[in-house]
């Protein structure tokens, strides 16, 4: 028997840069992450923080002419960075399955949904047409689609949003991948459907023991599903810990600010917390010093590290920069 290692993915010093007017700008800047079997790793952050860039880098789906990827993404000894396309095509869809945000847009409008799922099997298995059809029906049952035979022949526009996302999930898990990357899988869905889809992902994981990377901006979704959480800001991971720690005992100013701006409190008369300024665009991202410093100007510069590093402040809890030690919200300080 082959012993399976628990470590599925080991990302080290990943830099992914996009070319803008002739120059490369890192959208993911020195990212270090690991994904283990049976783990849901959530990467959370606001738009433009680089979370989707990480997904694209792992699965190798980026515009090769205008993107520069360096560092290592190790999957079982194999480095996915710079892997040639034909080898990568053997891994994509087979070992790594991907679920996207907008289920209607991610399905080909002119193909029957069953055939779109079967297409994955065509490229990764020896099944004949009949076997593929049977497997698709089996998958449709697994993802909870009613009347699978009928569904097989439907076109994407004939299905509801929740059913479409189930098709996309069926497609991603068709070959029982070890790694599933879900990029905002429920953002386009209603809350009740969102709950069902997240439950489904958990069920799939329990059965297949795969590792899931869940990319989302929704802290609620993270709290409900994730095991490990990486918080990203401006291309960098600013805090990483298990889910309980991140929500009960967040340290980085950005994590704390984000949690504070959620409309969750019972005191409706109070203003929501607003993070000053705006998320910097890729081109204007500060490349030196603490990238979040500009958003918390009341914290003196001396509190920040000159070149902020990620520190393990307690076992398994990583925080970038040391500014968290004396961080306070502005309102608290001025006594408003």
């Amino acid at each position: 028997m082959e012993k399976q290692s628990d470590l599925l993915l080991d990302i080290q010093h990943l830099h992914t840069g996009y070319r803008l007017q002739g120059k490369f700008y890192d959208a993911a800047d020195d990212v270090n992450l690991t994904l283990k079997r049976d783990e849901i790793l959530a990467i959370v952050g606001e738009s433009g923080c680089g979370k989707s860039t990480i997904a694209a880098s792992i699965i190798g789906l980026y515009d090769h002419k205008n993107t520069k990827v360096t560092g290592d993404i190790l999957y079982n000894e194999l480095n996915l960075v710079g892997l040639n396309e034909s080898l990568f095509n053997k891994i994509r869809g087979d070992k790594i399955g991907m679920i996207f945000q907008d289920p209607l847009a991610s399905l080909n409008p002119l193909m029957r949904v069953g055939d779109q799922v079967a297409e994955t099997l065509y490229y990764h298995t020896d099944m004949d047409e009949k076997q593929r059809h049977e497997r698709v029906i089996e998958l449709f049952n697994q993802v909870g689609m009613p009347r699978p035979e009928e569904m097989y022949r439907m076109y994407p526009h004939e299905l509801s949003g929740g059913l479409r996302q189930r098709v996309v999930i069926a497609m991603a898990i068709a070959c029982k991948p070890e790694i599933i990357i879900a990029d905002e899988p429920t953002t386009a869905l209603d809350v009740t459907i969102q709950a069902q889809i997240l439950d489904l992902l958990e069920d799939i994981q329990r059965e297949s023991h795969s590792g899931i990377i869940l990319i989302t901006h929704d802290l609620g979704v993270v709290a409900e599903t994730a095991d490990e959480v990486a918080v990203m800001y401006a291309g960098q991971i600013v805090e990483k810990a298990d889910v309980k720690t991140v929500f009960s005992h967040p340290l980085h100013p950005y994590t704390r600010s984000l949690l504070n701006s959620m409309p969750q409190s019972d005191d409706e008369e109070q203003d929501l917390h607003v993070i000053q300024g705006t998320v910097p665009s890729l081109k204007n991202m500060p490349r030196e010093g603490d990238r979040f410093a500009a958003r918390i100007p009341w914290i003196p510069e001396s509190e920040h590290e000159a070149d902020p590093k990620v520190h393990e402040v307690e076992p398994g809890h990583w925080v970038r920069c040391t500014c968290w030690k004396n961080f306070h919200f502005q309102e608290e300080a001025s006594g408003e």
Binding site: F88, D94, M98, F100, S106, Q116
Partner: protein
């Protein structure tokens, strides 16, 4: 499906009725009547008045209209004012020529446009695309008749590679001889005409490919491990062909109706040339018949487009 087609055909009835009314009113408003230009010593005013009465030209307008429509149903399009033959036989002779020219042009158009569009879309902003774009700007900007005349002058007169007028050589004999001669006469106008009509198809295809390339479902296909050339042919290209297929019906009938310039330049005896000739010769009975015919062709073209579209796009397929 057949229900939709049938319903569309039924909708065409009122459309045809309106078309016939318009054509009739147009014909009535045109100056002159069948006797214009025929006044000579043998035809005095009295005789003409008598003939007019006999032909019903003094009847109320609606009586004339219903009679005209009734005649249409019997295939009676009237007499040509100038050629002294029935309009029907005049048109049907020419229609055959135009049909063959349009068919050849259609084939050449798609044979040129599809590879050009694919190449431009696939290699967006690279030299292939830029070359095709320059060509497209040229064919788009240059007026058709200038382009045709230039082609005629260069390949017909100067180089003498192709005949410069007519549809078939008088000396051609035997089946293959006639076919060969017809082809020989058609090839230059068809190529020139096709080059002009490719423009929009190339643009549609290029834009379709460029747009579809970045669609999410293409990314999904790649994430499944589908090889890049299959992603292109099966996903991107197929979906980009949609608008072209949709315009096929109107393109074909458009070619039939729009051939007047090329036919005139090449003195090719087709319907388009007949149309222009009947304008210049004030042959109103032929003219009205042709307008009616072109109108009907347009309606059929739209119907064809709708049918093709509903056959290939499941999103608008009617259950």
């Amino acid at each position: 499906m057949w229900k939709t087609i049938l319903r569309r055909l039924l909708i065409m009835i009122p459309q045809l009725l309106i078309l016939s009314l318009l054509v009739f009113v147009l014909a009535k408003m045109m100056p002159g009547d069948p006797f214009t230009g025929q006044i000579n010593p043998n035809m005095d005013a009295k005789t003409i008045a008598h003939l007019k009465q006999e032909l019903g030209l003094n009847d109320p307008v609606w009586v004339q209209y219903t009679r005209w429509v009734g005649d249409l149903f019997h295939g009676n399009l009237g007499q040509s004012y100038t050629q002294h033959v029935s309009v029907l036989s005049l048109i049907s002779d020419r229609a055959v020529n135009t049909f063959w020219l349009s068919l050849l042009t259609t084939i050449l158009t798609y044979a040129l446009a599809i590879p050009m569009g694919i190449s431009a879309g696939r290699h967006q902003d690279e030299w292939q695309d830029q070359t095709i774009q320059i060509f497209n700007y040229f064919t788009f900007a240059i007026p058709g008749f200038v382009f045709y005349i230039l082609g005629l002058w260069l390949f017909g007169f100067t180089l003498g590679w192709f005949p410069i007028s007519g549809s078939v050589s008088a000396s051609a004999h035997g089946f293959w001889g006639v076919v060969g001669s017809r082809l020989y006469h058609m090839i230059l106008p068809a190529i020139l005409y096709a080059l002009i009509t490719t423009t929009s198809i190339v643009q549609y295809l290029r834009t379709g490919i460029v747009d579809n390339k970045v669609e999410d479902y293409v990314r999904t296909a790649r994430s499944k491990g589908v090889p890049e050339n299959v992603v292109f042919n099966k996903h991107i290209l197929r979906n980009s062909m949609l608008p072209i297929a949709a315009f096929m019906g109107t393109t074909i009938t458009g070619l039939l109706g729009g051939s007047m310039i090329i036919e005139t330049v090449f003195s090719y005896p087709g319907m388009g040339k007949l149309f222009l000739d009947s304008i210049s010769q004030r042959d109103y009975s032929t003219l009205t018949a042709l307008i009616l015919l072109f109108g009907i062709l347009t309606l059929i073209g739209n119907l064809l487009s709708d049918i093709i579209m509903s056959l290939i796009d499941p999103r608008i397929r009617v259950k």
